[in-house]
Protein backbone atom coordinates (compact mmCIF):
# COMPACT_ATOMS: atom_id res chain seq x y z
CA UNK A 1 0.00 0.00 0.00
CA UNK A 2 2.92 2.34 0.69
CA UNK A 3 6.68 2.10 0.53
CA UNK A 4 7.72 5.51 1.73
CA UNK A 5 6.70 8.76 3.35
CA UNK A 6 5.71 10.34 0.04
CA UNK A 7 3.13 7.55 -0.44
CA UNK A 8 1.68 8.01 3.04
CA UNK A 9 1.44 11.80 2.69
CA UNK A 10 -0.25 11.43 -0.70
CA UNK A 11 -2.73 8.78 0.53
CA UNK A 12 -3.50 10.76 3.63
CA UNK A 13 -4.29 13.90 1.63
CA UNK A 14 -6.15 12.18 -1.21
CA UNK A 15 -8.44 10.40 1.21
CA UNK A 16 -8.56 13.12 3.86
CA UNK A 17 -7.52 10.60 6.51
CA UNK A 18 -5.03 11.06 9.32
CA UNK A 19 -1.68 9.32 8.91
CA UNK A 20 -2.46 6.77 11.63
CA UNK A 21 -5.51 5.57 9.67
CA UNK A 22 -3.41 4.89 6.57
CA UNK A 23 -0.96 2.88 8.68
CA UNK A 24 -3.85 1.07 10.39
CA UNK A 25 -5.44 -0.02 7.13
CA UNK A 26 -2.12 -1.34 5.91
CA UNK A 27 -1.58 -3.22 9.16
CA UNK A 28 -5.08 -4.74 8.95
CA UNK A 29 -4.34 -5.98 5.47
CA UNK A 30 -0.92 -7.41 6.29
CA UNK A 31 -1.85 -9.04 9.59
CA UNK A 32 -5.39 -10.04 8.61
CA UNK A 33 -6.50 -8.70 11.98
CA UNK A 34 -9.48 -6.50 12.79
CA UNK A 35 -9.16 -2.88 13.86
CA UNK A 36 -10.22 -3.83 17.38
CA UNK A 37 -7.64 -6.61 17.60
CA UNK A 38 -4.87 -4.26 16.50
CA UNK A 39 -5.83 -1.61 19.03
CA UNK A 40 -6.04 -4.26 21.73
CA UNK A 41 -2.51 -5.37 20.87
CA UNK A 42 -1.30 -1.76 20.89
CA UNK A 43 -2.80 -1.25 24.34
CA UNK A 44 -0.82 -4.25 25.56
CA UNK A 45 2.35 -2.75 24.11
CA UNK A 46 1.55 0.59 25.69
CA UNK A 47 1.03 -1.06 29.08
CA UNK A 48 4.53 -2.56 28.84
CA UNK A 49 5.90 0.85 27.79
CA UNK A 50 4.24 2.57 30.75
CA UNK A 51 5.50 0.04 33.21
CA UNK A 52 9.09 0.23 31.93
CA UNK A 53 8.89 4.05 32.00
CA UNK A 54 8.01 4.07 35.69
CA UNK A 55 9.50 1.03 37.35
CA UNK A 56 13.17 2.06 37.49
CA UNK A 57 12.16 5.52 38.77
CA UNK A 58 10.41 3.81 41.67
CA UNK A 59 13.04 1.09 42.22
CA UNK A 60 16.60 1.31 40.86
CA UNK A 61 17.39 -1.86 38.92
CA UNK A 62 20.37 -4.19 39.20
CA UNK A 63 21.59 -3.93 35.64
CA UNK A 64 23.91 -6.57 34.18
CA UNK A 65 26.94 -4.23 34.18
CA UNK A 66 25.81 -2.12 37.15
CA UNK A 67 26.82 1.02 35.23
CA UNK A 68 23.49 2.86 35.16
CA UNK A 69 21.67 1.61 38.25
CA UNK A 70 19.64 4.38 39.87
CA UNK A 71 20.06 6.95 37.11
CA UNK A 72 16.33 7.14 36.34
CA UNK A 73 15.54 7.86 39.97
CA UNK A 74 18.29 10.49 40.20
CA UNK A 75 16.91 12.29 37.18
CA UNK A 76 13.37 12.17 38.47
CA UNK A 77 14.29 13.46 41.92
CA UNK A 78 16.21 16.40 40.47
CA UNK A 79 13.41 17.56 38.20
CA UNK A 80 12.65 20.71 40.20
CA UNK A 81 16.16 21.96 39.37
CA UNK A 82 15.99 20.98 35.70
CA UNK A 83 16.52 23.80 33.22
CA UNK A 84 14.93 21.62 30.57
CA UNK A 85 11.60 22.13 32.34
CA UNK A 86 8.94 19.96 33.84
CA UNK A 87 7.83 18.12 30.70
CA UNK A 88 11.23 17.43 29.20
CA UNK A 89 12.90 16.44 32.47
CA UNK A 90 10.14 13.88 33.07
CA UNK A 91 10.78 12.51 29.58
CA UNK A 92 14.49 12.18 30.38
CA UNK A 93 13.79 10.26 33.60
CA UNK A 94 11.36 7.92 31.86
CA UNK A 95 13.62 7.23 28.89
CA UNK A 96 16.41 6.30 31.31
CA UNK A 97 13.97 4.15 33.29
CA UNK A 98 13.17 2.05 30.22
CA UNK A 99 16.88 1.64 29.49
CA UNK A 100 17.52 0.59 33.07
CA UNK A 101 14.76 -2.04 32.91
CA UNK A 102 16.15 -3.22 29.58
CA UNK A 103 19.70 -3.50 30.92
CA UNK A 104 18.46 -5.61 33.82
CA UNK A 105 16.97 -8.06 31.30
CA UNK A 106 13.51 -6.90 32.28
CA UNK A 107 10.44 -6.67 30.08
CA UNK A 108 10.34 -3.77 27.61
CA UNK A 109 8.74 -3.01 24.28
CA UNK A 110 11.22 -2.87 21.42
CA UNK A 111 10.31 0.35 19.62
CA UNK A 112 11.82 -0.19 17.22
CA UNK A 113 14.66 -1.94 19.09
CA UNK A 114 15.45 -2.80 22.70
CA UNK A 115 18.54 -0.57 22.73
CA UNK A 116 16.30 2.37 21.82
CA UNK A 117 13.31 1.29 23.92
CA UNK A 118 13.07 4.43 26.08
CA UNK A 119 12.50 7.13 23.49
CA UNK A 120 8.95 6.55 22.22
CA UNK A 121 7.46 5.45 25.59
CA UNK A 122 8.89 8.44 27.48
CA UNK A 123 7.59 10.94 24.93
CA UNK A 124 4.17 9.29 24.64
CA UNK A 125 3.44 8.85 28.35
CA UNK A 126 4.60 12.34 29.30
CA UNK A 127 2.70 13.90 26.42
CA UNK A 128 -0.43 12.00 27.41
CA UNK A 129 -0.24 13.59 30.86
CA UNK A 130 0.56 17.04 29.53
CA UNK A 131 -2.25 17.09 26.98
CA UNK A 132 -4.76 15.01 28.97
CA UNK A 133 -5.08 12.39 26.23
CA UNK A 134 -6.74 8.99 26.37
CA UNK A 135 -4.92 5.69 25.88
CA UNK A 136 -6.82 5.35 22.61
CA UNK A 137 -5.35 8.59 21.29
CA UNK A 138 -1.85 7.43 22.25
CA UNK A 139 -2.30 4.08 20.51
CA UNK A 140 -3.31 5.97 17.36
CA UNK A 141 -0.04 7.90 17.59
CA UNK A 142 1.81 4.61 18.12
CA UNK A 143 0.46 3.51 14.74
CA UNK A 144 1.94 6.61 13.13
CA UNK A 145 5.22 5.86 14.90
CA UNK A 146 5.17 2.29 13.62
CA UNK A 147 4.49 3.49 10.09
CA UNK A 148 7.59 5.68 10.28
CA UNK A 149 9.64 2.81 11.72
CA UNK A 150 8.41 0.40 9.06
CA UNK A 151 9.54 2.75 6.29
CA UNK A 152 13.02 2.89 7.82
CA UNK A 153 13.11 -0.92 8.05
CA UNK A 154 12.01 -1.21 4.45
CA UNK A 155 14.28 1.45 2.96
CA UNK A 156 17.25 1.23 5.32
CA UNK A 157 17.93 -0.55 8.60
CA UNK A 158 17.21 -0.28 12.32
CA UNK A 159 20.07 -2.59 13.27
CA UNK A 160 22.92 -0.98 15.23
CA UNK A 161 25.27 -3.65 13.90
CA UNK A 162 24.40 -2.60 10.38
CA UNK A 163 23.85 1.16 10.68
CA UNK A 164 25.14 2.34 14.07
CA UNK A 165 23.21 4.19 16.77
CA UNK A 166 21.73 6.56 14.16
CA UNK A 167 19.78 3.55 12.84
CA UNK A 168 18.42 2.50 16.25
CA UNK A 169 18.02 5.64 18.36
CA UNK A 170 17.60 7.64 15.16
CA UNK A 171 14.65 5.53 14.05
CA UNK A 172 13.16 5.77 17.55
CA UNK A 173 13.58 9.56 17.63
CA UNK A 174 11.98 9.90 14.19
CA UNK A 175 9.08 7.68 15.29
CA UNK A 176 8.56 9.65 18.51
CA UNK A 177 8.83 13.01 16.75
CA UNK A 178 6.23 12.02 14.15
CA UNK A 179 3.86 10.56 16.72
CA UNK A 180 4.16 13.67 18.90
CA UNK A 181 3.58 15.97 15.94
CA UNK A 182 0.42 14.07 15.04
CA UNK A 183 -0.88 14.30 18.62
CA UNK A 184 -0.30 18.06 18.47
CA UNK A 185 -2.43 18.37 15.37
CA UNK A 186 0.37 18.60 12.83
CA UNK A 187 -0.30 17.97 9.15
CA UNK A 188 1.02 14.82 7.41
CA UNK A 189 3.84 16.97 6.00
CA UNK A 190 4.70 18.25 9.47
CA UNK A 191 4.74 14.70 10.84
CA UNK A 192 7.36 13.61 8.33
CA UNK A 193 9.24 16.92 8.56
CA UNK A 194 9.65 16.37 12.29
CA UNK A 195 10.78 12.77 11.68
CA UNK A 196 13.27 13.93 9.04
CA UNK A 197 14.64 16.66 11.33
CA UNK A 198 15.09 14.14 14.17
CA UNK A 199 16.92 11.71 11.92
CA UNK A 200 19.18 14.45 10.57
CA UNK A 201 20.02 15.55 14.10
CA UNK A 202 21.52 12.14 14.90
CA UNK A 203 23.04 11.32 11.54
CA UNK A 204 26.38 9.58 11.80
CA UNK A 205 26.12 8.52 15.42
CA UNK A 206 28.07 5.32 16.01
CA UNK A 207 27.15 2.32 18.18
CA UNK A 208 29.91 1.81 20.77
CA UNK A 209 28.56 0.02 23.82
CA UNK A 210 30.94 -0.25 26.78
CA UNK A 211 31.78 -3.89 27.53
CA UNK A 212 29.23 -4.88 24.89
CA UNK A 213 26.42 -4.08 27.29
CA UNK A 214 23.39 -1.97 26.51
CA UNK A 215 24.06 0.57 29.29
CA UNK A 216 26.76 3.11 28.47
CA UNK A 217 26.23 5.24 26.42
CA UNK A 218 22.82 3.78 25.50
CA UNK A 219 20.71 4.99 28.43
CA UNK A 220 21.84 8.61 28.06
CA UNK A 221 21.35 8.45 24.33
CA UNK A 222 17.79 7.32 24.92
CA UNK A 223 17.29 10.42 27.06
CA UNK A 224 18.97 12.79 24.61
CA UNK A 225 17.16 11.31 21.61
CA UNK A 226 13.82 11.65 23.36
CA UNK A 227 14.72 15.33 23.73
CA UNK A 228 15.68 15.36 20.05
CA UNK A 229 12.20 14.07 19.21
CA UNK A 230 10.58 16.89 21.18
CA UNK A 231 12.67 19.71 19.71
CA UNK A 232 12.23 18.29 16.20
CA UNK A 233 8.47 18.26 16.69
CA UNK A 234 8.57 21.83 18.04
CA UNK A 235 10.39 23.01 14.93
CA UNK A 236 7.97 21.26 12.59
CA UNK A 237 4.93 22.59 14.44
CA UNK A 238 6.45 26.07 14.17
CA UNK A 239 6.27 25.64 10.41
CA UNK A 240 9.96 24.98 9.88
CA UNK A 241 10.22 22.43 7.10
CA UNK A 242 12.90 19.85 6.45
CA UNK A 243 14.67 21.00 3.32
CA UNK A 244 15.55 17.38 2.61
CA UNK A 245 12.45 15.14 2.47
CA UNK A 246 12.17 12.25 4.93
CA UNK A 247 12.65 9.53 2.31
CA UNK A 248 15.94 11.05 1.17
CA UNK A 249 17.14 11.46 4.75
CA UNK A 250 16.43 7.76 5.39
CA UNK A 251 18.46 6.80 2.33
CA UNK A 252 21.32 9.07 3.43
CA UNK A 253 21.25 7.50 6.91
CA UNK A 254 21.51 4.05 5.33
CA UNK A 255 24.47 5.12 3.19
CA UNK A 256 26.22 6.60 6.22
CA UNK A 257 25.60 3.35 8.09
CA UNK A 258 27.26 1.36 5.34
CA UNK A 259 30.21 3.73 5.35
CA UNK A 260 30.76 3.27 9.07
CA UNK A 261 33.64 0.91 9.78
CA UNK A 262 32.95 -2.41 11.49
CA UNK A 263 34.55 -1.12 14.70
CA UNK A 264 31.83 1.51 15.09
CA UNK A 265 28.82 -0.75 14.55
CA UNK A 266 27.96 -2.53 17.78
CA UNK A 267 31.20 -4.46 18.08
CA UNK A 268 32.67 -2.55 21.04
CA UNK A 269 35.93 -2.24 19.06
CA UNK A 270 35.89 1.57 18.80
CA UNK A 271 34.41 4.83 20.07
CA UNK A 272 33.96 5.13 23.81
CA UNK A 273 33.99 1.32 24.11
CA UNK A 274 37.78 1.32 23.70
CA UNK A 275 38.59 4.16 26.10
CA UNK A 276 40.86 3.10 28.99
CA UNK A 277 37.98 3.32 31.47
CA UNK A 278 35.69 1.25 29.26
CA UNK A 279 38.32 -1.44 28.78
CA UNK A 280 38.91 -1.54 32.54
CA UNK A 281 35.15 -2.02 33.11
CA UNK A 282 35.03 -4.82 30.56
CA UNK A 283 38.05 -6.53 32.10
CA UNK A 284 36.61 -6.37 35.60
CA UNK A 285 33.19 -7.61 34.57
CA UNK A 286 34.29 -10.59 32.52
CA UNK A 287 36.94 -11.77 34.98
CA UNK A 288 34.21 -12.21 37.59
Amino acid sequence: MYDNAADIIRLSKERSLPVFRIVLENEMELSEKSEDAIFEELLEYYAVMKSASESAIAHPMDTVGMMIKGDAQKMDRARDQAFSGDYLSKILARAISCSEVNASMGKICACPTAGACGILPAVMLTTQERMGLTDRQITEALLTASGIGAIIVKQATISGAEGGCQAECGAAAAMAAGALTELRGGTPEMIFDSAAIALKNIMGLICDPVAGMVEVPCAKRNASQAANAVVSSDMAIAGITSTIPFDEVVEAMYQVGRQLPYQLRETSLGGIATTPTALEIAKKHFSR
Partner: protein, 216 residues
Protein backbone atom coordinates in the same frame (compact mmCIF):
# COMPACT_ATOMS: atom_id res chain seq x y z
CA UNK B 1 10.39 -8.80 24.93
CA UNK B 2 13.14 -9.27 27.48
CA UNK B 3 16.17 -6.93 27.16
CA UNK B 4 18.78 -5.82 26.52
CA UNK B 5 18.91 -5.97 22.70
CA UNK B 6 16.26 -6.73 20.12
CA UNK B 7 18.87 -8.02 17.67
CA UNK B 8 21.13 -9.71 20.17
CA UNK B 9 18.47 -11.00 22.56
CA UNK B 10 14.98 -11.26 20.99
CA UNK B 11 16.30 -11.98 17.49
CA UNK B 12 18.75 -14.50 18.90
CA UNK B 13 15.96 -16.29 20.77
CA UNK B 14 13.94 -16.46 17.57
CA UNK B 15 16.87 -17.87 15.58
CA UNK B 16 17.33 -20.47 18.33
CA UNK B 17 13.62 -21.36 18.26
CA UNK B 18 13.55 -21.89 14.52
CA UNK B 19 16.91 -23.67 14.35
CA UNK B 20 15.78 -26.11 17.04
CA UNK B 21 12.55 -26.88 15.25
CA UNK B 22 14.55 -27.52 12.09
CA UNK B 23 16.90 -29.82 14.01
CA UNK B 24 13.96 -31.66 15.51
CA UNK B 25 13.84 -33.23 18.94
CA UNK B 26 16.52 -35.17 20.76
CA UNK B 27 19.67 -33.08 20.44
CA UNK B 28 21.87 -33.08 23.54
CA UNK B 29 24.75 -30.83 22.45
CA UNK B 30 24.70 -27.51 20.61
CA UNK B 31 27.63 -25.44 19.38
CA UNK B 32 26.99 -21.79 18.56
CA UNK B 33 29.49 -20.27 16.14
CA UNK B 34 29.23 -16.48 16.46
CA UNK B 35 30.10 -14.03 13.69
CA UNK B 36 30.63 -10.24 13.66
CA UNK B 37 28.81 -8.16 16.26
CA UNK B 38 27.38 -11.34 17.80
CA UNK B 39 30.92 -12.57 18.31
CA UNK B 40 32.19 -9.30 19.81
CA UNK B 41 29.35 -8.45 22.17
CA UNK B 42 27.56 -11.70 22.96
CA UNK B 43 28.29 -11.74 26.66
CA UNK B 44 27.31 -8.13 27.33
CA UNK B 45 24.22 -8.34 25.15
CA UNK B 46 23.09 -11.65 26.63
CA UNK B 47 23.19 -13.30 23.18
CA UNK B 48 24.61 -16.47 24.75
CA UNK B 49 21.65 -16.78 27.10
CA UNK B 50 19.20 -15.80 24.37
CA UNK B 51 20.44 -18.44 21.90
CA UNK B 52 20.39 -21.06 24.64
CA UNK B 53 16.83 -20.08 25.61
CA UNK B 54 15.93 -20.19 21.93
CA UNK B 55 17.05 -23.77 21.36
CA UNK B 56 15.24 -24.70 24.58
CA UNK B 57 12.08 -23.38 22.94
CA UNK B 58 11.48 -20.35 25.19
CA UNK B 59 9.76 -17.39 23.47
CA UNK B 60 11.44 -13.91 23.33
CA UNK B 61 9.16 -12.62 26.10
CA UNK B 62 10.10 -15.40 28.54
CA UNK B 63 11.60 -14.16 31.80
CA UNK B 64 13.53 -17.46 32.12
CA UNK B 65 15.93 -16.19 29.41
CA UNK B 66 18.23 -14.67 32.01
CA UNK B 67 18.62 -18.11 33.65
CA UNK B 68 18.86 -20.01 30.37
CA UNK B 69 22.15 -21.75 31.30
CA UNK B 70 20.51 -23.19 34.40
CA UNK B 71 17.61 -24.53 32.34
CA UNK B 72 19.99 -25.99 29.75
CA UNK B 73 21.85 -27.87 32.45
CA UNK B 74 18.56 -29.09 33.89
CA UNK B 75 17.54 -30.34 30.46
CA UNK B 76 20.88 -32.14 30.05
CA UNK B 77 21.81 -29.93 27.13
CA UNK B 78 25.49 -29.19 26.61
CA UNK B 79 26.20 -25.78 25.05
CA UNK B 80 29.36 -24.23 23.62
CA UNK B 81 30.22 -20.87 22.10
CA UNK B 82 32.90 -20.33 19.47
CA UNK B 83 33.97 -17.50 17.19
CA UNK B 84 33.66 -17.82 13.45
CA UNK B 85 34.34 -15.61 10.43
CA UNK B 86 31.70 -16.04 7.72
CA UNK B 87 31.62 -14.43 4.30
CA UNK B 88 28.87 -12.18 2.96
CA UNK B 89 26.57 -12.38 5.95
CA UNK B 90 24.93 -9.82 8.24
CA UNK B 91 27.03 -8.64 11.22
CA UNK B 92 24.69 -10.45 13.60
CA UNK B 93 25.00 -14.01 12.40
CA UNK B 94 25.26 -17.37 14.13
CA UNK B 95 25.87 -20.85 12.76
CA UNK B 96 24.36 -23.45 15.08
CA UNK B 97 25.41 -27.10 15.08
CA UNK B 98 23.16 -29.70 16.69
CA UNK B 99 24.43 -33.06 17.95
CA UNK B 100 22.96 -36.21 19.49
CA UNK B 101 25.24 -38.74 21.17
CA UNK B 102 28.23 -37.12 19.48
CA UNK B 103 26.71 -37.43 16.01
CA UNK B 104 25.90 -34.25 14.10
CA UNK B 105 22.23 -33.84 13.23
CA UNK B 106 22.41 -30.61 11.23
CA UNK B 107 23.59 -27.03 11.18
CA UNK B 108 21.50 -23.91 10.76
CA UNK B 109 22.75 -20.39 10.01
CA UNK B 110 20.68 -17.35 10.88
CA UNK B 111 21.04 -13.57 11.02
CA UNK B 112 19.35 -11.08 13.30
CA UNK B 113 18.64 -8.14 11.02
CA UNK B 114 17.23 -5.57 13.45
CA UNK B 115 14.29 -5.00 15.78
CA UNK B 116 14.01 -8.72 16.47
CA UNK B 117 13.52 -9.64 12.82
CA UNK B 118 15.55 -12.59 11.61
CA UNK B 119 16.47 -14.61 8.55
CA UNK B 120 17.56 -18.23 8.40
CA UNK B 121 19.98 -18.27 5.48
CA UNK B 122 21.40 -21.76 5.42
CA UNK B 123 20.47 -25.29 6.52
CA UNK B 124 23.40 -27.68 6.16
CA UNK B 125 24.75 -26.98 2.69
CA UNK B 126 21.48 -25.53 1.39
CA UNK B 127 20.89 -21.83 0.99
CA UNK B 128 17.43 -20.95 2.20
CA UNK B 129 15.48 -17.86 3.17
CA UNK B 130 13.20 -18.24 6.18
CA UNK B 131 11.86 -15.15 7.98
CA UNK B 132 9.84 -17.01 10.59
CA UNK B 133 6.99 -14.56 10.05
CA UNK B 134 4.81 -17.03 8.17
CA UNK B 135 4.14 -20.74 8.58
CA UNK B 136 6.99 -22.48 6.80
CA UNK B 137 7.53 -25.91 5.31
CA UNK B 138 11.04 -27.24 4.92
CA UNK B 139 11.14 -30.30 2.68
CA UNK B 140 14.11 -32.47 1.77
CA UNK B 141 13.61 -34.40 -1.41
CA UNK B 142 15.35 -36.32 -4.18
CA UNK B 143 16.13 -33.98 -7.07
CA UNK B 144 13.77 -35.69 -9.51
CA UNK B 145 11.32 -34.40 -12.10
CA UNK B 146 7.82 -33.66 -10.87
CA UNK B 147 8.51 -33.56 -7.13
CA UNK B 148 7.83 -29.85 -6.89
CA UNK B 149 4.51 -30.14 -8.70
CA UNK B 150 3.54 -33.06 -6.43
CA UNK B 151 4.29 -30.89 -3.40
CA UNK B 152 2.36 -27.95 -4.85
CA UNK B 153 -0.59 -30.24 -5.57
CA UNK B 154 -0.74 -31.42 -1.95
CA UNK B 155 -0.79 -27.82 -0.77
CA UNK B 156 -3.45 -26.82 -3.31
CA UNK B 157 -5.61 -29.81 -2.31
CA UNK B 158 -5.43 -28.58 1.28
CA UNK B 159 -6.35 -25.03 0.28
CA UNK B 160 -2.95 -23.62 1.29
CA UNK B 161 -1.59 -20.72 -0.73
CA UNK B 162 2.17 -20.57 -1.31
CA UNK B 163 3.63 -17.17 -0.42
CA UNK B 164 7.26 -17.78 -1.36
CA UNK B 165 9.11 -20.87 -2.47
CA UNK B 166 12.86 -21.41 -2.64
CA UNK B 167 14.38 -24.52 -4.14
CA UNK B 168 18.05 -25.44 -3.90
CA UNK B 169 20.12 -28.54 -4.44
CA UNK B 170 23.66 -29.70 -3.81
CA UNK B 171 24.05 -31.44 -7.18
CA UNK B 172 21.90 -32.41 -10.14
CA UNK B 173 20.01 -35.57 -9.28
CA UNK B 174 21.14 -35.35 -5.64
CA UNK B 175 19.29 -34.08 -2.61
CA UNK B 176 17.28 -30.87 -2.83
CA UNK B 177 15.62 -28.64 -0.28
CA UNK B 178 12.39 -26.75 -0.78
CA UNK B 179 11.42 -23.99 1.61
CA UNK B 180 7.84 -22.81 1.31
CA UNK B 181 6.28 -19.95 3.24
CA UNK B 182 2.52 -20.17 3.28
CA UNK B 183 -0.32 -17.77 4.03
CA UNK B 184 -2.17 -20.18 6.30
CA UNK B 185 -1.38 -22.76 8.95
CA UNK B 186 -0.15 -26.20 7.90
CA UNK B 187 -1.86 -29.10 9.64
CA UNK B 188 -0.41 -32.54 10.48
CA UNK B 189 -2.46 -34.16 7.71
CA UNK B 190 -0.54 -32.07 5.17
CA UNK B 191 2.72 -33.31 6.63
CA UNK B 192 1.50 -36.89 6.26
CA UNK B 193 0.44 -36.38 2.64
CA UNK B 194 3.79 -34.79 1.80
CA UNK B 195 5.73 -37.61 3.44
CA UNK B 196 3.80 -40.17 1.41
CA UNK B 197 5.15 -38.66 -1.84
CA UNK B 198 7.74 -40.98 -3.40
CA UNK B 199 10.70 -38.64 -3.53
CA UNK B 200 10.08 -36.64 -0.37
CA UNK B 201 12.58 -37.62 2.33
CA UNK B 202 11.78 -35.37 5.20
CA UNK B 203 9.27 -32.65 6.15
CA UNK B 204 9.56 -30.01 8.86
CA UNK B 205 6.84 -27.53 9.71
CA UNK B 206 7.67 -24.26 11.44
CA UNK B 207 4.63 -22.75 13.07
CA UNK B 208 4.93 -19.14 14.05
CA UNK B 209 3.08 -16.53 15.99
CA UNK B 210 2.05 -13.92 13.48
CA UNK B 211 2.39 -10.18 13.74
CA UNK B 212 4.69 -8.05 15.82
CA UNK B 213 3.90 -9.45 19.25
CA UNK B 214 7.60 -10.29 19.71
CA UNK B 215 8.10 -6.62 20.51
CA UNK B 216 6.77 -7.02 24.02
Amino acid sequence: MIGPSSSHTAGAVKIGNIAASIAGKGFDHVIFHLHGSFSETYRGHGTDKALTAGVLGFPPSDERIRDAFFYAEKAGLQIEFRHIQLDNVHENTVMIEFFRNGKKLCDVTGSSIGGGNIEITRIDSFEVCVSGNNPTLIIRQNDKKGVVSDIAAVLADNDINIGTMVLSRTAKGGIATTVIETDSLIGPSVEKSLLSLTNVLDVRILEVTRGGSDHV
